[in-house]
Amino acid sequence: MSEDKLRALMARARLEAPPPVDVSAAVLATMRAHERERQGSLAPLAWVALASLVAAIPAALALTTTWELLTDPLLGLAGSLPWWAL
């Protein structure tokens, strides 16, 4: 008896129409805000990366030059010569 009534209550409840909603504008606004926030949080990191790059270029050039100089086969030959022969 109660089970039938409960089933009837559920059947009646299923007939209800939900209220209409339009969330497309709100979702797109949230999405844009999220994108802006993400870009905003990435911007300082981009500046740090750029500064590191600028500092790394001269250091890399200096290192390459020094390495080439140290690995030059003529350097050993030049080192064995007297100072007045150079």
């Binding site: 409960l6 209550l9 009646r12 007939l15 209409p20 497309s24 979702v27």
Partner: protein, 215 residues
């Protein structure tokens, strides 16, 4: 008179929904799935119009699901919005193995369940005694919105897990397999949980109607 004619006379909006559901055949479903696949692809590439199309195509269905989780219009609109925002964030993980609609329903179920758990403390304070509702004695004569309101109050007295399984199985009329997919539980777990929850609901319903009759 046929059942459809009775429904048309007693509840025109429900009859219109029934008619719309009957009209949407497999061809329409297939084209919708294709449109979903194309829009998901474009959306991943950052196309906002594609996201808008996805929302517009699915929001009525999601709104109907979320109405079972809250009857507060403001909270309902927020829940529907939350479902789409979460779907957009998780879009990269959608592999297209299941229809987009099913994937979205899983997100909606999770969102609704989380909402219930968050409101668990508030629920007990806000609940109004059902014993003051004598119309529960003849539920078949109730207006659908009143029936839904009373049912949600009844369900509101159960823990979120029980409410979830009853909502999916008996209010949304999902199969055990579908309920298992939506909740992430095993089919056996769904059956056991539904059986226990249904018993609790029935006992609470009997108590409320008995006390309403005594008044």
């Amino acid at each position: 008179m046929t059942q459809a004619a009775v429904l048309m006379l007693r509840d025109p909006p429900a009859f219109t929904r029934l008619l719309m559901a009957a009209r949407s055949g497999p061809v329409e479903h297939a084209s919708s799935a294709q449109a979903d696949a194309a829009d998901v692809h474009d959306c991943r590439a950052g196309d906002q119009d594609a996201l808008r199309r996805l929302i517009e195509r699915h929001q009525a269905r999601i709104a109907a699901l979320m109405w079972h989780f809250t009857r507060d219009r403001e909270a309902h609109a927020e829940l529907v919005q939350d479902v789409f925002v979460e779907a957009w964030r998780a879009l990269a993980s959608y592999r297209g193995e299941a229809p987009f609609e099913h994937w979205l329903a899983r997100i909606a179920t999770r969102t609704g369940y989380r909402f219930w758990r968050r409101r668990e403390g508030e629920r007990r304070v806000a609940s109004v005694p059902l014993e003051d509702c004598p119309e529960l004695r003849a539920p078949e004569e109730l207006e659908p919105s009143r029936a839904a309101e009373l049912l949600q109050r009844l369900l509101g007295e159960l823990p979120p897990r029980d409410r979830l399984v009853l909502t999916l199985r008996y209010l949304q009329e999902r199969s055990v397999r579908e309920t298992a997919e939506l909740t992430g539980w095993s089919p056996t777990m769904v059956k056991v949980q539904a059986w226990r929850a249904r018993g609790k609901l029935l006992r609470r319903f009997e108590q409320a109607t008995r006390e309403a009759e005594d008044e």
